[in-house]
Symmetry: C2
């Protein structure tokens, strides 16, 4: 219920290649819809819909300027992704540092149901 309630899913938002290219385009610059859609082979309306999905995921911010709406990327929600990744990082290297970092940053955000807090599956989980 905090102000930044991401009602759409970050994982889903970045699943689409067009949306990833949108982020890439808007990461450094704010741009109005028409200009943005000039960079894509699809219609302005289609771009608009992608932008709305990204906005709902918190990945872009919109700002009205006169008759245009300018969009810009907002990278913060990617933190959630990073945390999710951090959990798995320990498994592809033997990097203890990764695990340490993971533990250290566990409760930064509302990630509770997304990534397990190093939880035992109900399986045996005897010592390693």
């Amino acid at each position: 219920m905090a102000s930044s309630a991401p009602k759409y899913d970050v994982f889903q938002a970045i699943a689409d290649p067009t949306r990833r290219r949108l982020l890439q385009l808007l990461v450094e610059q704010e741009m109005p819809v028409t200009v943005i859609s000039g960079h894509f082979p699809i219609s302005r309306t289609a771009v608009s819909k992608h932008l709305r999905i990204l906005a709902e995921a918190g990945l872009v911010q919109e700002r009205k300027v006169g008759r245009e709406t300018r969009y810009r990327m907002q990278p913060e929600p990617l933190r959630e992704l990073k945390q999710w990744l951090a959990y798995y990082e320990q498994f592809w290297d033997n990097k203890l540092a990764a695990l340490a970092h993971y533990i250290e940053h566990q409760d930064s955000e509302g990630m509770v149901d997304r990534v397990p807090k190093i939880v035992k599956q109900e399986r045996e989980t005897k010592g390693k």
Copy 2:
């Protein structure tokens, strides 16, 4: 044709919450399909289809043992995600370290068309 030809998309593979839970379940243990599907409210066949998608993305590995097929997570393909993320990390902190890390690891994989090599978008909206 290298053994790790990810013909499915990692971004898309992890977009689905069920598939993320599958990864979480299989990250430390190999399991046969029936056991896996016992952890989910959906049918075994549905689970099987998710597993195939994950397998095509290289995120799980299958191994036949007698009449059962055992699956286990393989985290390597997440490297691609990590690299994608690394590019954006520089934008949410002023962390120069992030940028440094990004540059340093730029050509590790075949990511060329996915993340730009610090490219200048055409600038047009000048000033404010």
